[in-house]
Assembly symmetry: C2
Homo-oligomer: 674 residues x 2
């Protein structure tokens, strides 16, 4: 049988398998009991808030996407507009359902914690896996559909659409996905931190009530925020990197190896999806006393090792080129290295984190300084890993090798996304156990799950940044080909100027987002104060606060604050393009290089402060309420908008800027020149 | 008369004029009275400490420089070794005397404050001007000597040394100057902040005694630190940028315009020195009630405007090319813009600063977050100014235009250095007035001088970073020419990898320096605690602590902590060069782009926090001792190592890395290839 036909069947079949497995797990999670009334009430409030946010977000986004898709259809053609819509819709579905299942799983995990470790772990991890399966399933399905379309066009018209339309497909599909990812990352990032800071400033600081206290009018907004920011945004973002790297690999593979080069990425990714599913079967605690991190690591290692085997086998027997396998394996190793580095510098109880916690003994200032130093060092190490990965891929097979290294980095996306979503679910389950006052095994089970969630969250942040960087680098190569430039020469002052301005953009973008959190949090503070003032009996627990108000306020604020960053990422490339296509290339280089560094820096520094605070809360250096703890809380407050808003938002930002450049490149070349 | 001969006479004559003016001012300052015994004692302790530090630093540096100069003589020739020594010695002289005069002026300014505003202002500003004259005088003298040497070589042998040896001279002279600047910036930066933090942590926090209290065993180290860090380091650093830009302009000018192009920078700089001297005559307060910022601004504006006139006149009548004048004027305007931007974002009482101070009402976390957001925005704006300056210079006259823009940026160096040194002198004078308990007019006079010093310090930091960036860009162009590369193409993965690793270096470097401050401060804390414990009667004021111990500890620690950063800036370019000369070019681009951003970011963010704290200390939001103040103190503590250690140290670091690359470039080309 023809290898092309195999790919046509295998790739969509695997994608559907992943989706069906996701649906199966969804049903399993939903079948779990929600538990007692108090828990159900809390769950409903969170669920309502989350859905209110999403429907508001989608209203804004739908208008935006509709207008853009018409514009694209008119200027660039219907084909690219269709792929644009496909990317946007898939990304939206992932954001929506990923968050929906997380919200459902929070409460069920809390309730299952009454039964023991395994039931709670399975529920949280299964819901996480739904998210993972959505990302990889839709990621592969979209690409398969585009491949199918180009195959049948070829059969009926003889035009090789893959080669001809490759860049357009990349631009369209990638643009749609990236735009949604940007909206979710930015909107969700502002939402979660504004709610968090707003709730804490009035509740904890002014009123002296504990975290997650039901008397706080912003408490539900806070929990909703965790789902909005950590689940929806991350999934859409990784989906986009996942889609971009495979499309880039197919384009470059086609150029180098013809059909086999196109099919190899499709089949390799199919194989990697199956290994991810395979890995999830091993996530089971051997006993209630086992540390829940162990089964998670077992599952992950099994899927990584099987992915390596599949890549090598396909490279040797399908492509006849072992170096393609080596390049992909470099990517897998790089991903492992990034996970390790992130854990080493920011993981709970790690040396650097304990150092930051120790520094909190002499005050918030020293705690923050040590965290900054740690974050900067980790940035260097992480960037070097990304650089070496790119170089290794290049050594093996040129640009194709780089894109394969990128595919390798994302090979275990399925299980990594499961681990990542697991974090906020465990976190919220613990919050709900506290709010509902569940007894028995529940508190200790959710506490141990939450501790593991902190580790997995710390781990996966580096993965998202690293894979976004490699995806952006692939796009950078595409820009180079699309413009037909002979070089992007930084010794040319125009290009150097572009490099400088591009490098400065991530600073402006981050500055704006950090400011947005402050402004939105301020609105929450005003509202929470108003409720405490006007609704009598809240503090005595006689009357419930109006949770939906705070949710509505952060929802509106996060949509409003989206506008200026969105304008920035479109307008600045256009301004830079006035210096010509080469200068625009320099601009792109600047955005990727500095964006990557700032993203690592903000995520890792914030992560280190967060876990330093948690280390103290675990009873070290005086524990909760001590002066050392108060100092560490300051560090955590500073880190929050960095690690949960501006840092992660840089990922889709880097990619969007690249795509905008690709879109305007033909006009730049014809109007301004190279 | 031959234009070449004019330059041969005029340039050294102007340089000597500046130096003689400096000596005249030195004598004037020294002639002022030191005042009462208590003041004299404090002054002597500070002076002893400062000199102890410098002699220790020079011991280390001398060995290092001696070994290097022999190595350079053996591998690259005696000529380059001589220019290397010249650069190092001049830089050392500037650091040494600049600090020496500052130490002498502190106490005399304090004493003159008893007499009124003008005597105190004149003393502080005169001492600052000594520093300024040293920088510009030696800066021009060194280049004039090299020019003289090449002129006579040409007459006697017929070999055009300027063209032939240009790069070597640049490398030798620049390397010597940059190395000293790095040592002073890094050593001084660690010294000043370790002493500051160490003194505060035990004195203010543990013992509850006020700042600048003579009972604190680290108080003298703290005051010494201000001189070491702010005066010596800054002067050596700016001297190097000053020297680099003129050499670059002479080389490029020679290529484009022949002899006239070489002479033009020499004469333009001579003219600018005279305008700086001219400007200093206008720094006189009209009355005791005039805000001291006004005479400083008068002096500065007069020297800037006259510099513009001189540049234009020389460009039109000497060079016959008005565009050379335009390029230089762009640089002057850029410098003004940078001063303005730095003031706008970080100056005392400015909107952004008040915003950060207001945020301190809700705690240290929000204060720090707002500061970060401000610092990031200011980074974007500052980088865009630098980028536009480079582009404007390029539009006017290509690479020569860029170097002229750099010369324009540094045209008012004389008076800017005066303003910059004025800051720490005023600061320390105020500290001494407090320690010695001077009465009468003194406290109010030094308080108003100190307030102005805060403004000038805020202003001049952006100047140092911006001029270092332009100097580094000039070197970058030289690297390109020296290697004979046809391009440094970031679309080439090797170059992109170089760009990434180069961009990551400033993060590693800063991380290390921030950590150094922490380690050195820890040693101070231990010593201060020991003295309080073992020397009975300190707290009661019966016995004086042993000030020299703390000074000795920070001196030793700052020398020890120099080693690893120094190794980094040499080893990382060498490692990157393994990918070839183009990749090394990418590495350099990364270092400059990211180094520039981080330098602006750290200096401006730190400056904003500092002045936010001072705004509260001026009686706003509850003033000193309030919770808001305590929150702002945390921000200031975090900013200290950023704005006074790692941020400023990035300037010489960027330049050294470029020079190391130039040094190894021939070997890279022959051993590894392009």
């Amino acid at each position: 049988m023809d290898i092309q036909l195999i790919a046509i069947f295998v790739a969509p079949a695997t994608a559907l398998t992943a989706l069906i497995y996701g649906i199966y797990l969804t049903k399993k999670v939903i079948r779990e009991k929600e538990g007692e009334m108090k828990l159900v009430h809390i769950g409903k409030a969170v669920s309502d808030g989350a859905m209110a946010y999403l429907s508001q977000q989608f209203k804004v986004v739908t208008v935006f996407i509709a207008v853009l898709s018409i514009l694209i259809a008119l200027t660039l053609g219907v084909g690219i507009s269709v792929t644009f819509l496909l990317g946007a819709i898939f990304s939206a579905i992932i954001g929506y359902f990923g968050m929906w299942i997380a919200v459902k799983a929070n409460i069920r995990t809390a309730n299952n914690a009454l039964l023991g470790l395994n039931p709670a772990l399975r529920t949280a991890f299964s819901a996480g896996t739904v998210n993972g399966m959505l990302v990889v399933g839709l990621g592969l399905l979209g690409v398969s559909l585009i491949y199918l379309w180009s195959y049948f066009t070829f059969i009926s018209t003889g035009v090789d659409m893959v080669a001809k339309q490759a860049t357009n497909v990349l631009v369209g599909y990638g643009f749609g996905a990236a735009l949604l990812a940007l909206f979710m990352r930015v909107g969700g990032g502002i939402f979660t931190k504004a709610a968090d800071v707003g709730a804490d400033l009035v509740g904890k600081v002014e009123k002296g009530i504990p975290e997650d206290d039901p008397r706080n009018p912003a408490v539900i907004a806070d929990i909703v925020g965790d789902n909005v920011g950590d689940c929806a945004g991350m999934a859409a973002d990784v989906f986009e990197s996942y889609a971009l790297t495979i499309v880039a690999a197919m384009i470059l593979g086609g150029t180098m190896f013809g059909l086999k080069g196109v099919v190899f990425p499709l089949l390799a990714r199919s194989g990697a999806i199956l290994t991810s599913i395979f890995g999830t079967f091993f996530v089971k605690a051997k006993s209630d006393s086992e540390n829940p991190i162990n089964p998670l690591i077992r599952g992950f290692v099994i899927s990584a090792v099987s992915a390596i085997i599949i890549f090598m086998v396909l490279a040797i027997y399908l492509l006849g080129e072992p170096r393609a396998g080596y390049a992909a394996v470099c990517g897998i190793i790089a991903m492992l290295a990034l996970l390790y580095v992130t854990k080493y510098y920011t993981g709970p109880g790690e040396k650097s984190v304990v150092k930051a916690a120790t520094a909190a003994k002499t005050g918030a200032g020293t705690n923050i300084i040590i965290g900054l130093s740690t974050g900067m060092e980790s940035t260097f190490v992480s960037v070097v890993i990304v650089a070496l990965t790119i170089y290794a891929g290049y050594l093996f097979l040129g640009f194709y090798g780089i894109s394969l290294a990128g595919m390798g980095m994302l090979a275990t996306t399925g299980i990594i996304m499961s681990l990542d979503t697991f974090g906020p679910i465990a976190d919220n389950a613990q919050g709900m156990v506290e709010m509902a006052g569940l007894k028995g095994k529940a508190p200790s089970v959710t506490a141990s799950l939450d501790a593991v969630g902190n580790t997995t969250k710390a781990l996966t942040k580096g993965f998202a940044v690293g894979s976004a960087a490699v995806a952006a680098s692939s796009l950078f190569a595409t820009y180079f080909e699309a413009t037909g430039l002979s070089s992007i020469d930084i010794a040319n002052p125009k290009v150097f100027v572009g490099l400088l301005i591009g490098g400065a953009l991530p600073f402006l973008f981050s500055s704006r987002l950090i400011g947005s959190v402050g402004r939105a949090a301020f609105e929450v503070v005003e509202e929470v104060r108003r409720q405490f003032r006007e609704i009598k009996g809240i503090m005595e627990g006689k009357k419930l606060p109006d949770y939906s108000k705070a949710v509505a306020i952060v929802t509106a604020a996060s949509q409003k604050e989206l506008v200026i960053p969105a304008i920035m990422v479109v307008v600045l490339p256009i301004i830079s393009s006035l210096l010509g296509a080469q200068a625009l290339g320099g601009f792109l280089g600047g955005v990727v290089v500095v964006g990557l560094m700032l993203a690592f820096f903000m995520c890792n520094t914030g992560g280190a402060w967060d876990n330093a605070k948690k280390y103290i809360e675990d009873g070290n250096f005086g524990g909760k309420g001590s002066d050392t703890h108060k100092a560490a809380v300051v560090g955590d407050t500073v880190g929050d908008p960095l690690k949960d808003t501006s840092g992660p938002a840089l990922n889709p930002m880097m990619k969007i800027v690249q795509i905008v450049a690709l879109l305007i490149a033909p006009f730049v070349i014809s109007l301004i020149g190279k």
